[in-house]
Symmetry: C2
Subunit: 430 residues, 2 copies
C-alpha cells in the first residue's frame, strides 16, 4: 500500500466519525480556524511572498498574480466567510421527510455528509481556506490539491488550519489532507473506494480529463458562455447599465457575459449608445451583420464566436427576430452557466425563465451576481454546470446527501406479498 493510499484509507475511516461530529464542535473548530488565521497571518504572508516572488520570476500574468496574492483583504474575506458559515444551520442530520409505511413501520430520510471530498483547485490560496471550512461545517473529510504556484501558501495555510482544528478535537486530525504533486493526483483518481466525490475547479478540458481518468463522481463545470438578451420590452437605461456591468466589471471570470442578443425592434434604440460606451471601455465587438453599422470598430462575428468564452474585453453581439430565437440561440451555444433577459414584460420574463436551460436565469440584473457568496451561501466549492446533484453555485448543500432509516418492530416482507398481503399505508408524516 502506497503512502498516499495509507493516508486515504485513514481519511475514509475518519469520515464516519466526522459525519457525526456535533454542530457545536464543528463551529468551535471553525472559530479556531478563524482565530488561527489571524494570529498566524505574518507567517502566511511570508509563505505567500515566496510564491509571489517565484511567480514573478516566471512572468505569471497580472490577473493570476492577483489571485495568488493572500493579503489583508483576502484574510478579512475568508475570516468573515468562516464566521458566516458558523451562523448557518448545520446541513447534516436534518430530517428531510418521514412516512408511515404501515403501523409501527416508519421511513425517515435524513441528511448526511457525503464522506471524503477531493478538491483540485486553481492557484488561489483563499480557495483552500473556503473549501476546508465548507467541509468542516458539512461533516466531510477533504483531500485538497491546490495549484503549484501557491505551494508555499497552501502548505502554510493547511498547517495552520489542521493544527487549529486538531487542538479543538484530536478527531479532526485525520479529516483533512493536502497533496502537492501531479503524481499524487493521478494516483488519487484511482481510489474510488476512498473518495466519494471529486470537485475539479479549472478549465473544461481539465474537468474532462478527470472524468475520463476516474470512476469517482465529478462535480464539474464547463465553460461560462453567458448571455444577456435585450428584449423588445426592455427598459433601455437598465439594459445599458446591466450589459456594461456584466461585460466589464470583471472580465476574466466565468459569470461575465460573452454574448449579447438584441431584439430587432429595440436594436436601433439601444445599440448606438451601448456600443459607444462599451468601446470607450475598450471592449472589442464581434457583431452579426445586422448590427455592425452601430459600431465603428466592430468585426463581423463568425460561427465560432457564438461558442467562445472570451474571458476578456470582447463581446459577441447578435440581433434576433424574436424571444424564441434568443432562447434557441442560448440553448444551442450556451454552456448552461448563467443567462439573462432585460424586459419589463411579465410574459416574456416567464417564458425566458422557463425555457432557457441554464443554472442561473437572471432578469434585469447582471450575470455577475451568479456566485456562492452573492447568493448567500457563505462560500462556494465551485459552480456546477451539471444537471445532476448540484447546479449553479455550490455551497454546503452540494456537500451533503441523505440516508434512509426504516424503523420497524419485527416487520417482514412476506406479510406484504401474496394472496393475503397486508396493504401499505404510505402516509406522509412530515
Amino acid at each position: 500500500m502506497s503512502e498516499l493510499e495509507e493516508r486515504l484509507k485513514k481519511i475514509k475511516q475518519a469520515s464516519v466519525n466526522c459525519g457525526n461530529f456535533p454542530t457545536s464542535l464543528k463551529n468551535k473548530a471553525l472559530e479556531a480556524v478563524a482565530v488561527a488565521l489571524e494570529k498566524n497571518f505574518a507567517d502566511i504572508k511570508k509563505a505567500n511572498q515566496q510564491d509571489l516572488e517565484e511567480a514573478e520570476k516566471c512572468n505569471l500574468a497580472q490577473p493570476l498574480l492577483k489571485r495568488l496574492k493572500f493579503d489583508e483583504d483576502k484574510l478579512h474575506d475568508v475570516v468573515s466567510g468562516i464566521r458566516g458559515l458558523i451562523k448557518l444551520d448545520d446541513p447534516v442530520n436534518q430530517k428531510l421527510s418521514a412516512m408511515l409505511l404501515d403501523d409501527g413501520l416508519t421511513l425517515i430520510k435524513v441528511s448526511v455528509a457525503i464522506g471524503v471530498i477531493g478538491v483540485i483547485f486553481e492557484s488561489r490560496p483563499d480557495a483552500l481556506v473556503q473549501i476546508a471550512a465548507l467541509c468542516i461545517k458539512s461533516g466531510n473529510c477533504a483531500v485538497l490539491k491546490g495549484g503549484s504556484e501557491a505551494l508555499h501558501s497552501n502548505r502554510k495555510l493547511f498547517e495552520v488550519i489542521k493544527n487549529a482544528v486538531s487542538e479543538v478535537d484530536a478527531g479532526f486530525a485525520d479529516t483533512l489532507a493536502l497533496i502537492e504533486t501531479r503524481e499524487d493526483v493521478s494516483e488519487l483518481l484511482q481510489y474510488n473506494k476512498y473518495i466519494n466525490l471529486i470537485i475539479p475547479r479549472g478549465s473544461n478540458a481539465f474537468v474532462q480529463y478527470i472524468q475520463k481518468n476516474s470512476l469517482i463522481p465529478v462535480l464539474g463545470h464547463a465553460d461560462g458562455i453567458c448571455h444577456l438578451y435585450i428584449d423588445k420590452y426592455a427598459d433601455v437605461n437598465k439594459a445599458k447599465k446591466v450589459v456594461v456591468d456584466a461585460k466589464t466589471q470583471y472580465v476574466s471570470v466565468c459569470n461575465a457575459t460573452e454574448t449579447l442578443l438584441v431584439h430587432k425592434d429595440i436594436a436601433e434604440k439601444v445599440l448606438p449608445e451601448l456600443f459607444a460606451e462599451l468601446e470607450a471601455r475598450k471592449v472589442k465587438l464581434h457583431c452579426c451583420e445586422r448590427c455592425t453599422k452601430y459600431s465603428v470598430n466592430a468585426v463581423v462575428a463568425t460561427d465560432e464566436d457564438w461558442a467562445t468564452e472570451y474571458l476578456d474585453y470582447e463581446l459577441s453581439v447578435k440581433v434576433v427576430d424574436s424571444i424564441e430565437d434568443a432562447v434557441s440561440h442560448i440553448n444551442t451555444y450556451g454552456s448552461g452557466h448563467t443567462d439573462g433577459i432585460i424586459t419589463e414584460d411579465a410574459e416574456c420574463r416567464k417564458y425566458f425563465e422557463a425555457y432557457v436551460d441554464t443554472s442561473s436565469v437572471v432578469v434585469n440584473c447582471s450575470t455577475r451576481f451568479a456566485d456562492g457568496f452573492r447568493y448567500g451561501m457563505g462560500a462556494e466549492v465551485g459552480v456546477s454546470t451539471n444537471k445532476y446533484h448540484a447546479r449553479g453555485p455550490v455551497g454546503l448543500e452540494g456537500l451533503i446527501i441523505y440516508k434512509y432509516i426504516l424503523e420497524g418492530d419485527g416487520h417482514i416482507v412476506a406479510d406484504y406479498v401474496g394472496t393475503n398481503a397486508k396493504p401499505y399505508q404510505h402516509r406522509k408524516l412530515s
Copy 2:
C-alpha cells in the same frame, strides 16, 4: 450525422418543452398510457409470448423467464403504479427556496426536469413501462434500451405507450425513444451533449463499463451486500423472523441479506434455532469459527465470503464482540445498499443508524423492504449506491434538478464592491 444522432438531437430539443408540460397534460398522458396498456393487452401478450418461446429455446433460467413474463398480474401492477403516479404531486416547477439578496433583488430556486435520461435495463418488460411513466411525470425525455430477450415485448409496449401519449399531445412524440442494439448503446455513450444522465441497471461490472466509456453522469448501483446485525439487546423472536425473511423471502434480489452478524453474548441463545430454521429452508451457511458449532452442515467462512453477494440460498455468519465491531465490518465489506440491526436498546439503535454508511439502515425489520414501491415512490428507476445526487431507491426525486432565478430591477455588481459597497441582506423568504 448518424440516424441515432438525428433522433437524439430531436429529443434534446424536445426536452425543453417537455420540462414545461403542465401537470394536467402529463397526468392525462399517463392515464392514456394506462388505458392503452389494458386495451392492447392481447397484442402485448402475443409479443411477450414470442420472447418467452425464444427464451425457452435458449434455455433461459427459470427466474429470468419469470422476470421476462408480462402477464395479467404484471399488467395490473404497472397500471396501478401509473395511477399511483398520477396522484403524486408534480415534482417540477416547485419553489424550493427564496431569498432576498437586496431590495428588489430576489433569488428563487425552482425544481426542473433534468432533460434527457438514458436508461439501460434488464429483460423485464414492466421496467420499460415504469421508467417511461416516471419520465413522463417528471417532465423528462427518455431513451430506453431493454434487455435483448425482451425485444418483441419492449417494441410493442413502447409502440403502445408512444401512440397513447402522442394522441394526447403531439409534443410527446419526440420525448421517448427506444433503441435496440448494442451498437446503438456504444454510440449513445458518446453523446454527453444530448444525454444528461444515464441509469444503467444491472451488474456492478456493467455499471463500471458504462462509467469507463462515457462522460455522461451515471446513476449507478454496485452490489447489494446487505447485512443484518443481531445486537446483544435483540428480541430473539424478532431476530429469527426477520433474518429468515431477509435471507429467504426472495434470494435473487439486491436487498436480500447476504451476511449475518451476531453479538457474542446472544449467539448461544439465537443461533441454534435460527440455523435449524435456515437449514430447513436449504440455506447453506458460511460460518466464522465461533459459530460453526451451532450448525451441522456449515462450511467455514473465508475472507472472500464477507465480500460476496450470493443472490442465492447462502449466508455468511460472523460472531462479533461488540456493536462497534459489527459497524466496522459492515463499513469494510458492505456495498452501501441496505444494512440492519435487531435491537431493543435505543442507544444501540441510534449508534447503528448514525455510524453505518449505507443508503438504507433498517431497524427491527427486513432488508427486503428497501425498494421504491415499498418506500411509497410509486415506482423506481433503480437503486443507487452512490453518495451523490440520489441514494437508495430512486423514484421521481432522482429525475429532477433545480435552477436559480434571480429577478432584479437594473441591479449591477459594481454597486456591491469596492469602498462604498452596498451590503447584501441575504434574508430568507421561504
